[in-house]
């Protein structure tokens, strides 16, 4: 009983938590290789050797940081990512946390991620990190609405806020086809929640690394790891909400989920570096004036479709 309901879910969630970011790093390496020559220890070893260097490097301290919050922030970000992964249903029975409102719980994870990223930049008490933190909050407060509208869109046909129900409602047709605007909008949310590519407002180059500018060593390792883990969790939710989760012929459900997650990750790894970083002001306008109305359209579409 305990083994079945506690140990086994723990094992697979933690395995996904460790393997996922590693695979994402490998995918990132592949994308980088396709964009230009890279050398080094090879695609499979590169993430490990980078991590090893972060473990060796000493962790930096600033003059008067909010020390506890500063160390907590990466760990909390990781915990949020793990929480997100726990929500992903791998098959009808393989669900670590199958509650009636798991869709909303993911929304809260997004909201809390903003807090944690802000905390990381704020706590260092240095100038560039502070600007990065505030800039990210502008983004974080903007994308959350889009994400919520899009997710409500998938909840309409499911008549439930549980992710398992969302999957069973896609029995006939996946949401990616049924609500064509949903997945593209949601992918933008994924880039924003992990501040990658065009939405890298937190750790951007113009701030010499932004919230990470004064972070080194093991803290940076945890931070980058958590950032990848969050994207993995996001890909799990995207898979569930739009790509039919475990649904698929021939193969067992969990394998389907894993494949679909990898596909989403690959897409995001490729999309991320493809675009220039957007300026914060333009980002907020884009989110509210363009993408949010598009999310409305998506919701209306989903609503009409669900009633037909």
């Amino acid at each position: 009983m305990i083994l079945d309901q506690l140990v086994w879910p723990l094992t697979w969630v933690l395995a996904a938590l460790v393997l996922g970011p590693y695979l994402l790093a490998v995918l990132d390496g592949l994308v980088a290789r396709s964009l230009g020559p890279t050398r080094g220890p090879g695609i499979w070893l590169a993430p490990l050797s980078r991590g090893a260097w972060w473990l060796i490097q000493h962790t930096n301290v600033t003059e008067a940081p909010d020390g506890r919050a500063w160390r907590l922030a990466p760990a909390l970000y990781l915990a949020l990512a793990a929480g997100g992964l726990a929500l992903v249903p791998w098959s009808r029975t393989w669900v670590a946390t199958d509650i009636a409102t798991s869709l909303v719980l993911w929304g809260s994870i997004e909201a809390l991620a903003t807090v944690v990223i802000f905390l990381q930049g704020w706590s260092a008490n240095t100038h560039l990190t502070l600007v990065g933190a505030y800039r990210y909050v502008a983004l974080g407060l903007s994308y959350i609405l889009i994400s919520m509208f899009v997710l409500i869109g998938v909840a309409l046909p499911a008549e439930s806020l549980a992710l398992t129900q969302v999957i069973t409602s896609q029995q006939e047709l996946w949401n990616v086809l049924r609500q064509p605007l949903g997945l593209p909008l949601f992918l933008i949310v994924g880039l924003a929640i992990t501040f990658r590519g065009p939405f890298n407002l937190a750790d951007s180059t113009d701030l010499a690394g932004g919230t990470s500018a004064d972070v080194s060593g093991a803290q940076r390792l945890v931070w980058e790891f958590a950032r990848s883990a969050m994207l993995v969790a996001f890909s799990g939710i995207a898979t569930t909400a739009f790509l039919g989760g475990w649904l698929g012929p021939w193969l067992p459900g969990p394998l389907w989920v894993a494949f679909k997650m990898l596909a989403v990750l690959a897409l995001l790894a490729w999309l991320g570096p493809a675009f220039a970083r957007i300026t914060p002001e333009r980002c907020v306008s884009l989110m509210w004036v363009v993408l949010l109305p598009l999310a409305f359209v998506d919701l209306i579409w989903a609503g009409v479709e669900a009633l037909l």
Partner: protein, 205 residues
């Protein structure tokens, strides 16, 4: 809940955590810490709501409070002196009175809780909390949604009116400019204007 003992332990831990973090809100010098302590207190209460099978409300607490406390922190830092608490400070008045009132209200409510007899009517086993809430919200006449909609609109307009600068400070003219003919374009039918305060400073569109 199949494990009453685990639920009890979790409840006690969360309750202590909620009270501790709630207390720390007023005992820390850093405004950011204060906001996020309050957030932690809310999260603990939300988790207790989850234990009470209020699946939606507990989770709603997380995302509502996550955003609200984030905004709270922004504004606290904006408008408080010494926002990070680098200097020790104690910005309180009528301290004794406040302590007294706090204790008194605790005692009163606690006494009510201890002395009053409430009927024991647990949740029906087949209750679906979220749909019942949804049906109640929509109700017969959609009264709640109507009023929420109106209040919402009023809040949005009130917030914008109060907080944006409304043309009082030169650049604020932006606020009273008509929108562009195309998104991000120049304002329609407005001559290019110089701002008094900003000198030669430029705004990007």
């Amino acid at each position: 809940m199949n494990f009453p003992l685990a639920v009890d332990i979790a409840f006690i831990l969360l309750a202590l955590f909620a009270v501790y973090t709630g207390w720390r809100v007023f005992r820390t010098d850093s405004m950011v810490r204060a906001s996020f302590f309050l957030l932690l207190s809310f999260i603990a209460v939300g988790a207790i709501m989850l234990l009470l099978s209020a699946m939606y409300l507990g989770v709603a607490m997380f995302f509502m409070m996550g955003v609200e406390m984030m905004v709270m922190a922004l504004f606290m830092v904006m408008f408080m002196m010494n926002p990070a608490g680098l200097n020790p400070m104690m910005m309180v008045h009528q301290h004794r009175l406040a302590i007294g009132a706090g204790i008194a209200s605790f005692v009163i409510v606690a006494a009510m809780a201890l002395l009053a007899r409430f009927p024991h009517r647990p949740l029906p086993a087949d209750l679906q909390a979220v749909p019942s809430l949804g049906n109640e919200l929509l109700g017969e006449s959609m009264l709640i949604f109507e009023s929420v909609g109106v209040v919402l609109l009023a809040t949005m307009i009130g917030v914008v009116v109060l907080s944006s600068q409304r043309g009082r400070y030169g650049n604020a003219g932006e606020g009273s400019m008509p929108p562009g003919l195309e998104p991000g374009g120049e304002p329609a039918g407005m001559p290019a204007k110089d701002d008094e305060e900003g000198g030669g400073h430029h705004h990007c569109h």
